[in-house]
Amino acid sequence: MRVKKEINESLNKRSKKAKLFSVRTIPFFSSFRLIFVSFMFFVILSAVSFATECGLFGNYLYNGVCVPDYLVNLSTIIMLISVLIASAFYMIGIALEHERIKQWSKDLLFQILGSVLILGVYLGIAASLDFWAPSLLNTNLAYVGEPTVRSFSSANWVNLHDHVTHYVSCLISYTKGSVKNIVGITSAISILATTSINIQISDYNQFYSIFATGSGLSSLVSIAIGALASTLIQLRLQLEILNLNSALFSLILPLGLVFRSFPYTRSAGAAMIAITIGFTIFLPIFYLIIEDIGYHYYPKNVCLESPPSVSFFGLVGMGITIAKDGAFAAVQKYFGQGGDFEGLIKVAVIQATVLPLIAYLVVLNITKRIAEILGGEIDFSTLVRLI
């Protein structure tokens, strides 16, 4: 009887253990299957989307353009290897019944799946830009219902990035032309200001300066040239940053995904992915908003507008105005509403300096938030200080 009891007890214990094992494992396997299926779905989806447009390997779709690439594929391979590592660690965790190893491998798996999801979403947004970005041609993002300057030059539209770089290039040309013209005007005024006539009648000598007070303009013009020079420099910097677009997409994004796959470089990977998303998706859209706000205040196409200049007769007229009505009236006439230099001030101050600065600050803030969502904390205070 006693032996029977013992046997029954041991059998019961075993069945309980078996039940526990089955209860513990079945939900895991089903959730694992779900994760695995969803992962494979993303892999196949991305593979199919590449395959339909660009061929299976070595290419990816970027804003409607097929670009050869290694790193997107490399990052996919590394993510797959990471999945294998996570699975191996999970097996070890099960074998050793070590909860921490199991938890660690699960976390790793979820992070990799997160990276795959980010890649899928990002590629989807970038690829869909081709479809929805042209609708921005006639849509004013700043003042709803107002016309856009883009709609008049729709023939130049290739894609969002090209349009934005073209717009910044136009701002550069406009500023360069303005600097050139202002230097020309200053030099013309200076010729008058430095010219003196020597009248000699018998032994009597007298020097007359034609426009002695003209040299007083030099400090004012020097400030204006300095401001335009810094505008030109930062516009060139903006263009260079926009030109990094393709490099950010083809290099920093996949490297960020690789970095994000490993625990100790996760925050760095998150920062890299966030920077790519911020600077390739949000920044170009902000430039469209800048263009719209700029057009609202100065309804002329900067790409077609010639920089302000004063002809020889204009200079004579300026001199007459100063002589007749005083310098303040001349400043109002040329720099005030409807004046020749009004456009320059609006373009240089609003479109080229203030709005881009705000846009960069906003993009950095968005980037910081995206990085936080992706699991990393980055301190952009240094960059903000540089701006």
Partner: protein, 424 residues
């Protein structure tokens, strides 16, 4: 009776003494058990251990000092690359930073052995004086020695695989990531130099032009009785641009120094961080009182040795669009020739009898246009220089700070190196 009483009292005393002895033995064993249980949590105040660590630290300090002194003998041209330092163990070259006695692998191995020996001695002392706390702590330290050893093996594996990747095979313009970082710095420095020379060229051209004067005392000569002279400074207006270009030239000069500083930092990281900081960190990490500090040293040395060049090689990939950049050509510094050419043409035109004034003005404006073009070129090139020398390095430092923070959190105490980015 009295004798019996005395005997009884003595027996009682003996019994009490015995009880006290057994109690003390029990508390001793309890204490040892508690200590053994808490060994993984308690960090210690054990005097012999910290003195052992102190002796080791002093020894290591002298060792590092002697290495640094001998390092002065190494010329910058002979500095090994980061991958040589990481993977090579040159037994033949006894004076180089990669030689056996200065290599991080041998130093770390020796450091681990010495630490294990010290820990064993401490364990022996603990056993001899019957101090279970000391023994337990020594056991923990021994486990840490083993863990550090395993981590070092992993590190060597990672470094070897990183150095085995030849980026040229993937179509990039450099072989190892150290090579990529070097190329980035060299290109940025060349670009800064080009921009600085352009700015200087422009300043010199404008200065030369503004000093140009036309003085004609007998412009209208009506005999000795009446003369009308003219004095003109045709390019005086260009002087207003000098203030701005001077400011930007000094900014570019500063950036040239900054990029040179980055290169020196890279050289120092390549040669000394793994060879000196890592072994020091490894040894300090083996002992309880200095474990956190050792972890920080390891995090900084690995973080900077691997990720500083890696991030800058990414930057090189970005600016070169994955290819190889040829260094930017230096500008033509013959400003004097250009001005002389323009002025001589103006003189020739003016000397022609009845030469048109419009032609003269046209020739004079040629010199002005040359100056304006060089000025605009200089202004324009400052933008990319700022990107290469300020913006991209600042982003790299931000990412680097995040990596080092994560690593130091794992290895010991959280350390924030983001303040270094403020240097920029």
């Amino acid at each position: 009776m009295m004798e019996r009483m005395k005997e009884l009292i003595n027996r009682k005393k003996e019994r009490k003494r015995k009880e006290r002895k057994t109690n003390s033995l029990q508390t001793d064993t309890l204490q040892t058990e508690i200590l053994q249980k808490n060994t993984f949590q308690t960090e210690a105040q054990g005097i012999p251990l910290s003195s052992g660590a102190f002796i080791l630290f002093v020894l290591l300090f002298f060792f590092i000092l002697s290495n640094l002194l001998s390092a002065e003998l190494i010329s910058p041209e002979n500095l090994p690359t980061g991958c040589e330092v990481a993977t090579k163990l040159d037994f033949g070259n006894q004076t180089g930073p990669t030689s056996a006695e200065q290599n991080w692998k041998s130093l770390s191995f020796i450091g681990l052995l010495l630490s294990a020996a010290f820990v064993s001695i401490i364990y022996m002392i603990g056993k001899a004086i019957d101090a279970p706390g000391l023994m337990a702590r020594a056991k923990t330290d021994l486990i840490q020695v083993a863990v550090t050893g395993i981590a070092l093996v992993f590190l060597y594996g990672i470094l070897s695989s990183l150095c085995a990747i030849d980026a040229k095979e993937f179509g990039f313009g450099f072989s190892s990531f150290f090579d990529g970082a070097n190329k980035y710095f060299e290109y940025s420095r060349a670009y800064a130099l080009k921009t600085y020379l352009e700015a200087t060229n422009s300043i010199m051209e404008i200065s030369a032009l503004t000093s140009f004067r036309i003085n004609s005392p007998n412009f209208i000569d009506l005999g000795t009785f009446f003369k009308l002279g003219v004095y003109i400074q045709p390019y005086a207006g260009y002087g207003v641009t000098i203030g701005a270009i001077n400011w930007f030239a000094s900014l570019v000069l500063l950036s040239y120094s900054l990029i040179t500083g980055f290169m020196v930092v890279l050289n120092a990281i390549q040669t000394y961080f793994l060879n000196l900081l890592l072994p020091a960190g490894v040894v300090l990490r083996c002992f309880s009182p200095t474990r956190d500090f050792g972890g920080i040293l390891i995090a900084i040395s690995i973080g900077l040795f691997v990720f500083y060049p890696l991030l800058f090689s990414f930057s090189y990939m970005m600016i070169s669009k994955g290819g190889e950049l040829s260094p930017p050509g230096l500008p033509n510094m013959d400003w004097e020739g250009k001005i002389n050419w323009a002025v001589s043409r103006a003189i020739i035109v003016s000397s022609i009898p009845l030469g048109s004034a419009v032609q003269l003005i046209g020739q004079l404006s040629t010199g002005g246009n040359l100056a304006t073009d060089s000025l605009l070129n200089a202004y324009e090139d400052v933008g990319p220089a700022i990107l290469f020398i300020y913006i991209l390095p600042a982003i790299n430092w931000i990412i680097l700070a995040a990596i080092v923070r994560e690593l130091s959190k794992v290895l010991g105490q959280e350390v924030d190196i983001s303040g270094l980015a403020r240097m920029i």
